[in-house]
């Protein structure tokens, strides 16, 4: 075993062993150097990019949405800061554990928060996933305090829509809700990302392109825990434009007060330019609830409400116009020469047509009346006869020239066109020829006629201003954040009433008498000190039965009560406001709708 020569110096044997060892060493180091070369030179640029992605994040800064003011610059809708909590998966070493901890800190069930993780499957791991919006101050404090235990979790401050007065003018202003997948795909919202809120209804929707502004970006450096260590570059947001409505907030408030406990709609318009001064639809909803996130039950409750709080009855509600339609019949009668200022017709309380008897609302009859009395006292028999002489198709032509049967063009969604019946329409729609008797119903605003409150206010405004129909405007001005004028809502005439000045004069006289004469049906709407012109209307919900009017209102089931109309303008000489009020199932126009119209006029004119 003992080879002494191995212990001697200069042993070639060891030299041999060493040369083998050296070869191995060189080979191994060559592998290391080759690997270094591969990682740093061949793949270097790619890894450099990865290292930047690793630590540089692009955060989007949501722009402040444009504000909404009333015509006098009173703030109606602004933005408040809201705190959202999100997670970046790449920074959370164990996302599930982090989310469980977060749920515990927030004192919430972990399931909905964990579900967000599943929802984001296939999402780039460095992109933030929104977990919860609008944290309370308390929750915010808890999350901030435990920041070190929650890697990957971060809080963002976002402006959140805030409707200052809650339900105030909610149908006109509209609401926001999360952008849908289809909307995102449509390409019409290039600035928006999933989870953004956009206008879904009302002015919020129609002015979306002005409101949204442009998001900014912030390039930040984060550490391995996802905490921001440095802001590298910021591109500032461009805030949305501010919208000044044509609305008069005081008038709106007063009108809404009058509609408390009532179902229906009211619209006020400036007759000189079509500006909408007030638009009420009752009951209303609170648009804040949409931004803050509604529970399923809350939504169901809203959707199932029999009075449809989500619909804007001022533009979507279609009702028979009742006696307010006599304005149309008057214009048609005078313009077609069927009657003139001297025509007197006798009202015994009923009118016979063929083998049917049509009743006047006043059973005892009005006696001999001319056009002005007929308007003032709303004599049905007078207008039966005018209608009969005109025929339904001539009547329909004039109704169309008055802007009925078609949308007014107001820039709000889902406006209803109403309905102007004609013989051709009936044949086409129902397949039965027109009956002469039906013309009589149409002439006093019953039967197939359907109008919307916005159409009626446009018509009354045209009567007030000398015949020009303006497109109803809800946006007066749009201004940039710096105050620069972006857009001005200019008066836009869309038609003229087919009525001569003389016709309009008679019409106005009749409407003035309706309010200002003791026997006028609108007596209740008179205002001391100024002259108001108006017309009541009672729209039957079910066809009139015998003795219908005599029954006290309370004895009739609510849903069978008549709708009450009142249209008016004031002051007669220089009209500044036109209103149309509709109270669903309110009973008589004079008692239910008249006082509301009166208060609106008083409120606006400051009496």
């Amino acid at each position: 075993m003992n080879h002494t020569y191995l212990k001697t110096v200069d042993s070639d044997w060891y030299r041999q062993r060493l040369s083998g060892t050296l070869i191995c060493v060189f080979a191994v180091f060559l592998v290391l150097l080759a690997r270094l070369y591969y990682l740093q030179v061949v793949k270097g640029a790619e890894f450099r990019r990865q290292s930047q992605n690793n630590c540089v994040r692009l955060q989007s800064i949501p722009p402040a949405r444009g504000l909404i003011f009333d015509r006098n610059g009173v703030l109606m809708v602004d933005n408040r800061p809201s705190f959202s909590v999100s997670i970046v998966l790449e920074d959370a070493k164990n996302p599930k554990e982090v989310l469980l901890k977060l749920a515990e800190f927030l004192g919430e069930e972990p399931q909905p928060i964990l579900a967000k993780l599943d929802g984001a499957r296939g999402y780039p791991s460095f992109k933030p996933i929104l977990l919860k919006r609008d944290l309370s101050r308390d929750s915010l404090a808890v999350v901030e305090a435990h920041k070190l235990d929650l890697p990957g979790i971060f809080i963002t401050i976002e402006p959140m829509r805030h409707y200052v007065d809650g339900k105030r003018a909610s149908h006109l202003i509209g609401y926001l809700s999360e952008i849908s997948e289809e909307q995102l795909k449509s390409g019409r919202f290039p600035h928006n990302r999933s989870g953004d809120f956009i206008g879904k209804f009302g002015v919020e929707k129609s002015c979306e392109s002005f409101f949204h502004g442009e998001p900014g970006t912030r390039q930040v450096q984060v550490n391995a825990l996802g905490q921001v260590t440095r802001v590298l570059e910021t591109v500032q947001t461009v805030p949305g434009k501010n919208v000044y409505l044509t609305l008069d907030l005081e008038l709106q408030r007063k009108t809404e007060e009058m509609f408390a406990e009532k179902v229906g709609a009211a619209v006020a318009m400036d007759p000189s330019n079509g500006h909408i001064l007030a638009m009420v639809s009752s009951p209303a909803f609170d648009p804040n609830a949409f931004v803050e996130g509604m529970t399923f039950e809350e939504w169901n409750k809203l959707a199932a409400n029999e009075f449809h709080p989500m619909g804007n009855k001022a533009i979507q509600g279609q009702y028979p116009p009742g006696s307010t339609y006599k304005i149309v019949t008057t214009i048609a009668g005078l313009e077609e020469g069927v009657i003139n200022e001297d025509t007197k017709l006798y009202c015994p309380g009923y009118y016979r047509c063929g083998n049917r008897t049509f009743r006047c609302w006043k059973r005892g009859g009005h006696g001999s009346v001319d056009i002005i009395d007929a308007l003032a006292q709303s004599c049905d028999v007078f207008f039966f006869q005018v209608g009969e002489k005109l025929g339904v198709d001539r009547l329909a032509r004039f109704a169309t020239s008055c802007g009925l049967g078609m949308s007014t063009g107001i820039k709000l969604d889902n406006e209803a066109p109403g309905l102007v019946p004609s013989s051709a329409w009936k044949l086409r729609k129902i397949g039965v020829p027109w009956q002469a008797g039906e013309t009589l119903s149409v002439a006093i605003g019953q039967g197939f006629n359907l109008v919307t409150p916005i159409q009626m206010v446009s018509l009354v405004a045209a009567v007030a201003n000398g015949g020009t129909r303006y497109k109803p405007l809800v946006v007066g001005r749009i201004r940039g954040v710096d105050g620069s004028l972006v857009k001005i809502g200019a008066a836009e005439p869309v038609g003229k009433l087919a009525a001569s000045d003389k016709t309009l004069e008679f019409l106005r006289k009749g409407l003035v008498d309706a309010v200002n004469k003791r026997e006028g049906t609108g007596w209740i709407a008179r205002v001391r000190g100024i002259e108001v012109a108006g017309k009541t209307g009672t729209a039957q919900v079910v066809s009139m039965e015998k003795g219908h009017e005599e029954k006290p209102l309370e004895s009739i089931p609510f849903c069978l009560r008549d709708h009450a109309w009142f249209v008016a303008f004031a002051p007669v000489e220089t009209p500044r406001i036109a209103v149309a009020v509709l109270v669903e199932h309110g009973g008589h126009g004079s008692s239910a709708a008249g006082p509301i119209a009166r208060e609106m006029i008083k409120a606006y004119l400051g009496i």
Partner: protein, 370 residues
């Protein structure tokens, strides 16, 4: 006893290589901890601590070449017994840090006996192999002693647990044994046994150790878990590109994406900041150190010196290869320090000790007084 020739033959090259690597190490440590709040929070920055340890390392190195290395032949057994005793002390009275019991505390100093035991194993094996060497190689029968001398410390270290250091002990012993040659039949048996032991050993590994090894084969399957270290380290190294991001400018390191950046992944910090030029230079320095160590072995005129030099060189070699290979994603993540560069007093002192021994052999290659 003092000989002028000692000064004439002083190994300046080896000293220079060691000093350069150590200087790079302290510089890199400075960068590694300056970037990370977690490590910098310590009362005394680690690069300063490392400097103190370096002083101690120099003293150990000087002590190692003041006497004739052949004394080690005589006292090797005692040194081995002493260091294994220290390991046993660790097992019973060691300080526990984050789940591992690796440290012995003496006063305000804490050190890892497992680092010293590597040198001790090298010495006893060198003595045995140089005494009983044969041209045919060692047979299984003649290998049982070195096997026991290796396995005892290995088991003690592995159960701390410190798989990395344990593995290094095995690799050193294996390299030395292969160097002195194993008889062919025994070789086949040993290889077979080795494969068998490895496959059985898998079942004794801790879960995290298994994870690290499986993550090594496919780090992308679990990028946030076990594969995290490897991916982040590769990104750090790769993003250094040719010229590096510059001193103190490594973002992967600065933003704490690198784990253990002052010990296991110090090479990644270096590679990120100094790029291919810098890291290839450091790798080359190690290569030079290894070649120089082997040249000392070959120039030694007697087997004990040769085998001792081979053993110490293989210690540096394996640690460097495993640590760098790990940072480059070539080897699984096991905690092994990069000699002279990683933070760690015991490791530094042990390495300097080894270099001292190498110098001793180098200086005394012309003296045959015994």
């Amino acid at each position: 006893m003092f000989d002028r020739r000692l000064v004439q033959h002083f190994d300046w090259v080896l000293l220079a290589l060691a000093l350069v690597l150590e200087a790079i190490g302290i510089l890199t440590l400075y960068s590694a901890v300056n970037a990370s709040a977690h490590v910098a929070d310590l009362t005394c920055p680690v690069y300063l601590k490392q400097t103190y340890w370096f002083g101690m390392g120099i003293a150990a190195m000087v002590a190692m070449f003041l006497f004739n290395y052949k004394w080690l032949h005589r006292w090797g057994g005692a040194a081995y017994a002493f260091s294994v005793g220290l390991l046993l002390a660790v097992a019973f009275a060691g300080k526990e840090v984050s789940g591992s019991q690796r440290w012995l505390v003496v006063g305000s100093l804490s050190f890892q006996p497992s680092e010293i035991v590597k040198i001790a194993v090298v010495i006893v094996l060198a003595r045995y192999f140089s005494d009983c060497c044969s041209e045919e190689g060692f047979t299984l029968k003649s290998l049982w002693k070195p096997l026991v001398w290796t396995l005892v410390p290995f088991i003690l270290i592995a159960r701390q647990p410190d798989l990395g250091t344990g593995l290094v002990v095995l690799l050193i012993a294996g390299s030395m044994t292969l160097f002195v040659k194993i008889e062919r039949r025994s070789m086949i048996c040993l290889t077979g046994a080795g494969v068998l032991v490895c496959s059985v050993a898998w079942f004794f590994l801790k879960e995290y150790q298994k994870q690290r090894i499986s993550a090594f084969w496919n780090p992308e399957t679990d990028p946030l878990g076990a594969g995290y270290h490897v991916i982040q380290s590769k990104i750090a190294v790769g993003s250094g590109m040719v010229l590096g991001k510059g001193f103190l400018k490594g973002t992967q390191n600065a933003l704490s994406f690198l784990p253990e950046q002052h010990t296991d992944f110090i090479f990644s910090v270096l590679a990120e900041e100094w790029g291919f030029l810098g890291s290839a230079m450091v790798v080359t320095l190690y290569l030079l150190l290894i070649i120089w160590g082997l040249s000392i072995a070959i120039r030694s005129k007697e087997p004990f010196g040769t085998i001792l030099a081979v053993g110490i060189t293989s210690m540096v070699f394996w640690q460097a290869i495993i640590n760098v290979g790990m940072a480059l994603g070539l080897l699984p993540v096991v905690g092994v320090t990069l000699p002279l560069i990683s933070y760690g007093g015991s490791s530094l002192v042990a390495t300097m000790l080894g270099i001292g021994i190498l110098m001793n052999i180098s200086m005394r290659r012309f003296m045959f007084k015994d």
